[in-house]
């Protein structure tokens, strides 16, 4: 089943390009997260899908039908807004049944459907409350119920958790995911929170500067980031800059050898990314490939893991080891840090990570992203 397909979607506001040439497939019944820093174009993309903005170029199709020109009120896409956008002059039940009232459904059926949906989002008994009497979490549930009332073909959520406190957010992420799986509805969630995307999504689209960097499952995105930007935006990573040499990378005097060997031209600028949990710290006298010695500068225990900051000749390195580990290090101690060959990811050094995401290298990176997309969307 084709689901929702975007082809060559572009949106410009005068000289500013908000979304640039996006090809994406949102598989039927799956939850896709559009993830990226603010200003990356993810909300604009969602609004174009909803019909609230017209694309400057490209087509949107649903199950093979071109819906690019279809206005928002004819699309039958349910949307949850960042501010929830509930109607303060209506009761909870009237809010939920609004789309049905517009469609001319009779009062009794509307009421029954509102009760059913409110029960689904665990808000039974709140039918006659005013919106002003609800908490943030309750408002979100009502907004979700309202968006689902018209049995939408596609369910859209724009930063749905951003108005909730941290604890409620975690619970709602799980709940929303369960609800989506129960209803088996094609869902697109816009978020800037990578944890939220990882928790809920079948497919994550990482965006930056109006383009996508990578499309893939949460685990693919985390373990096999396609670009330096993805590696830095999703989770944490140690970045080491060097020059490619014979399938490996020279960082200062050290030579790193990844597995499989890199295919960069000798002498080209390369970045190595390695997740902190893959870096292991050992005694100073341990030797082996991809191992550098250094001095422990800082230690901290974060619940199940322990972070060890080591100053090495190749730069500062953070290692994350299980707190249960037998090894004990002290600040100032000389140690060695091992970067396992299989855990090294190499990227061209365009100076572009999430911290400096507005670099000029976006165009180069897209090449990798496209090939990734094909794998996942198929």
């Amino acid at each position: 089943m084709p689901g929702l397909v975007l082809a060559g979607i572009k949106k410009t506001y005068g000289p500013v390009t908000a979304v640039d040439n996006i090809d994406l497939t949102f598989p039927k019944g799956k939850l896709t997260a559009l993830l990226g820093p603010s200003g990356c174009g993810k909300t604009t993309l969602l609004r174009m899908i909803a019909g609230l903005e017209d694309p400057s170029r490209g087509t949107i199709s649903l199950d093979g039908d071109d819906i690019t020109e279809k206005p928002a009120n004819k699309r039958k896409f349910g949307m949850v807004f960042q501010s929830f956008a509930l109607f303060p002059h209506m009761s909870v039940a009237e809010n939920v049944a609004y789309s049905l009232a517009i469609a001319g459904v009779d009062k009794a059926t509307r009421r029954a459907r509102a009760e059913e949906l409110l029960d689904l989002v665990k808000m039974a008994g709140f039918e006659d409350r005013r919106i002003g009497q609800l908490s943030g979490g309750q408002r979100q549930r009502v907004a979700i119920a309202r968006a689902l009332a018209q049995k939408p073909d596609v369910f859209l959520l724009d930063e749905p958790m951003s108005a909730l406190d941290a604890q409620l957010r975690e619970a709602m992420q799980v709940e929303l995911r369960l609800l989506q799986q129960k209803l088996d509805i094609t869902t697109i969630v816009v978020t800037h929170d990578q944890r939220e995307a990882m928790t809920m999504a079948d497919q994550i689209v990482v965006m930056s500067n109006g383009r996508y960097e990578q499309v893939g499952s949460p685990s693919e995105i985390y373990h096999r980031p396609a670009t330096a930007f993805v590696a830095s935006f999703i989770g944490k990573a140690n970045f080491l800059k060097g020059k490619a040499k014979d399938g490996g990378v020279d960082v200062g005097e050290f030579h790193f050898r990844p597995e499989p060997a890199a295919s960069f031209l000798n002498g080209s600028a390369v970045q190595i990314a390695c997740r902190p949990e893959n870096v292991t710290i050992g005694a100073a006298d341990e030797t082996g490939p991809n191992r550098v010695s250094g001095t422990v500068t800082f230690l901290r225990d974060i619940g199940p893991t322990r972070e060890i900051y080591v100053e090495t000749p190749v730069g500062s390195v953070i290692s994350e080891m299980p707190a249960s580990t037998e090894l004990v290090f002290a600040k100032g101690e000389t140690v060695s840090a091992e970067f396992p060959a299989h855990a090294l990811r190499l990227f061209p050094d365009t100076g572009d990570t999430a911290g400096a995401s507005h670099g000029s290298g976006a165009g180069d990176r897209k090449v990798t992203a496209v090939s990734d997309k094909r794998d996942v969307a198929a």
Binding site: A50, L52, A72, N73, K76, F87, H89, S99, Q150
Partner: protein, 336 residues
């Protein structure tokens, strides 16, 4: 260590207050700002309250035929407004009718003005900043025209020889109306002569001119609340299947119902005092209290106490209308 010293000072002040005459101490304690405020308050009270009180007092006075009027205290001027001068021998509703026309024109004029301004202003706020600015300049410019100027323009537009009726005749609509029998219907409505459509004099022209007069105010009063509406509410309604007009009716109007009511009340009160439009477009039998008040005070009849009584009744009626509307609004709010 400085705290005890401060509290000591306060004690000393309290002692001084007890010692001298309280009022003198109060005046001495006033700063220049208080004195200026006091003077301004006195001037405002004099300028606004004194004429108002004078009108009330005069309304109980008595006219001397062939001369001016004398102070007095009887309700005959008020009684005359409602049941005529010859009461209880006979009842004439001449002035009661004038009051009725005053209220009817003001209610209809404000309803038409707000009725047109509301969708216009809403769609204006949906436009680009540039188009909004241009429309606002246009609206403000039309505000700068005086009532006399507006009425003159409408007078020409609606005049039987050179205005709309002449145009209708020239393009053949008048003969079509005659053939289809609509002209007879329009005659029943006082909007046609045997030969052609006529707007002068008519109540329709009076009310339309009044509505046109206050329409820019309605736009300006509604612009701020309409541009403050949460856009995502409108977008949410659209994603749920509502077209533009449905959004306007089900989301926008309820969201700004209080500003709309406020605009209606303000324009209603403003239109109660309309003079020029009424004298131009309403037939003498359909004219309003303000015209009659002017006649009494400065015009043909020269009866200041009677004019004052009409003015007081107009004021009280407006007050009753506003009070009633506010009560309704409060009821609606409680229900919501």
């Amino acid at each position: 260590m400085s705290y005890p010293a401060v509290s000591g000072d306060i004690e000393v002040d309290r002692e001084a207050g007890k010692g001298g005459p309280a009022f003198a101490a109060y005046i001495r304690g006033l700063g220049p700002a208080n004195i200026i405020m006091g003077v301004i308050t006195a001037v405002i009270l004099f300028v606004f309250v004194a004429p108002f009180l004078l009108v009330i007092v005069v309304s109980f006075g008595e006219k001397i035929e062939g001369a001016s009027w004398v102070w007095g205290f009887d309700f005959s001027n008020y009684i005359r407004v409602f049941v005529g001068v010859d009461w209880p021998n006979s009842v004439t509703l001449l002035y009661a009718l004038k009051l009725y026309y005053t209220l009817a024109y003001a209610v209809l004029g404000s309803l038409i003005a707000v009725g047109f301004a509301f969708p216009f202003t809403y769609f204006m706020t949906q436009g680009s900043r540039r188009s909004q600015a241009m429309w606002l300049v246009f609206v403000l410019a039309s505000l700068s025209m005086s009532e006399v100027f507006v009425v003159m323009g409408w007078d020409i537009l609606l005049s039987n020889r050179s205005g709309l009726p002449a145009l209708l005749k020239a393009v053949g609509i008048t003969s079509w109306l005659k053939d289809t029998g609509w002209l007879a219907v329009l005659r029943d409505w006082d909007l046609a002569s045997p030969r052609n459509v006529k707007f002068k004099t008519s109540q329709l022209a009076t009310v339309l001119t009044m509505a046109y007069l206050v329409w820019p105010y309605a736009v300006i009063l509604l612009f701020a609340p309409l541009s403050r509406i949460d856009r995502s509410m409108i977008e949410a309604a659209r994603t749920m299947g509502a077209g533009s007009l449905t959004v306007l009716r089900t989301i926008v109007l309820p969201a700004v119902r209080l500003p709309v009511l406020g605009s209606l009340l303000l324009l209603f009160v403003y239109l109660l005092g309309t003079y020029v439009s009424v004298t131009y477009f309403a037939a003498p039998a359909h004219q309003t209290l303000p015209v009659s008040i002017y006649e009494s005070i400065r015009g043909a009849t020269l009866n200041a106490p009677f004019g004052a009584a009409q003015a007081v009744i107009l004021l009280i009626t407006a007050g009753i209308f506003i009070g009633f509307s506010l009560m309704l609004a409060r009821l609606a709010e409680r229900k919501a």
